[in-house]
């Protein structure tokens, strides 16, 4: 009797996986295609939801701190209504960097869950460190998130303030990246003593 014992879950799954189906190969392929579309579409929709402002605020410690500061800036509200939400600046658009960022961002959730940054005072104490992390990331990817909208290639320096035009052409010459000079664009800056101003 012991020989008829039901095999384990893994073995049964493996057997099921290996056993040829009665279905035609075309049907199987078609089903696979549809399943693939549904899965990939679902995945991307899920990703989009996860990158919405509301979703960010629901878990990250931001509603009373950085989100309030962001609401006063031009990236939240302006005359043309073109906006940049949290993820536009803080989450890369490319797939692999996006996934890496998502995983790294879980550290921030830990910070929230353990109450390390749960009051504006505590948040301010960690502001410099958090800002440094973000500056380093932007330095590393050549401020890609800024450049998704703002590009040196299409800047008309004659339309800019004279100083801005001058500094931007200097930045191109010296191979600078946006975050070198433009820190604290949407947020309050931390204590900047000893942080070079970028030019």
């Amino acid at each position: 009797m012991s020989k008829d014992k039901k095999p384990g879950v893994i073995r049964r799954a493996w057997t099921w996986f290996r056993t040829p189906s009665h279905l035609a190969i075309g049907t199987l392929l078609a089903m696979g295609f549809v399943a693939g579309v549904v899965f990939w579409g679902g995945f991307n929709t899920g990703m989009e939801v996860m990158n919405s402002e509301k979703f960010c605020i629901s878990c990250h410690e931001m509603r009373d701190n950085v989100y309030q500061e962001y609401m006063d800036t031009v990236h939240y509200s302006n005359r043309t209504g073109v906006r940049a939400v949290c993820s536009d600046c803080h989450v890369p658009k490319e797939f692999v960097p996006k996934m890496i960022r998502k995983i790294k961002a879980s550290k921030e959730l830990y910070g929230k869950a353990m109450g390390i940054i749960d009051t504006p005072q505590k948040f301010d104490e960690h502001r410099l460190q958090m800002a440094k992390n973000e500056w380093a990331r932007m330095d590393g990817n050549n401020s890609q998130e800024c450049r998704n909208c703002h590009s040196f290639d299409y800047m008309d320096f004659t339309e800019q303030k004279t100083v801005a035009g001058k500094m931007h052409s200097m930045a191109i010459k010296e191979g600078k990246t946006c975050i070198d000079c433009h820190k604290g664009i949407a947020h309050k800056l931390p204590d900047m003593t000893g942080i070079p101003n970028g030019f």
Binding site: K166, M167, L189, N197, F199
Partner: protein
Amino acid sequence: MKSNVLRKQLTLWTMLVALVSGSVVFAADSVDLSQSPEVSGTPEGSVIMPKEQSRMALDYVNQPPMIPHSVDGYQVTTKVNTCLKCHGVQSYRTTGAPRISPTHFVDSAGHVSSNVAPRRYFCQSCHVPQADAAPIIGNTFTPAPGYGK
């Protein structure tokens, strides 16, 4: 009792008349107050602040120069001073911005430091962006001789 009510009514009406006539006289002043954002309740953003413009003339000796550009989003807190990024001693040669005045390094006791004195640190207490705005209160001020041109 009755006279009390009457007196109350009378006072109320007198006050109302005084208020209305007062405001009429006030409005008839030569200054066009409707231009002033404080009075007309102009929605924020409709007064045109400069992106960049030429510098307005000073009106008296030691007047703090006004800011000929927009300061939207500039942060001046105890921890950071965005103005000094360009106007500071370390960077004014690169940016071509006017250098912060040496007087700003002298504290109230007359001591000179290499850091900006606390009482001179918050730039916009004295330096304000130039704007084409009507005066809030009428005045007879005329620029000092040689100034205002």
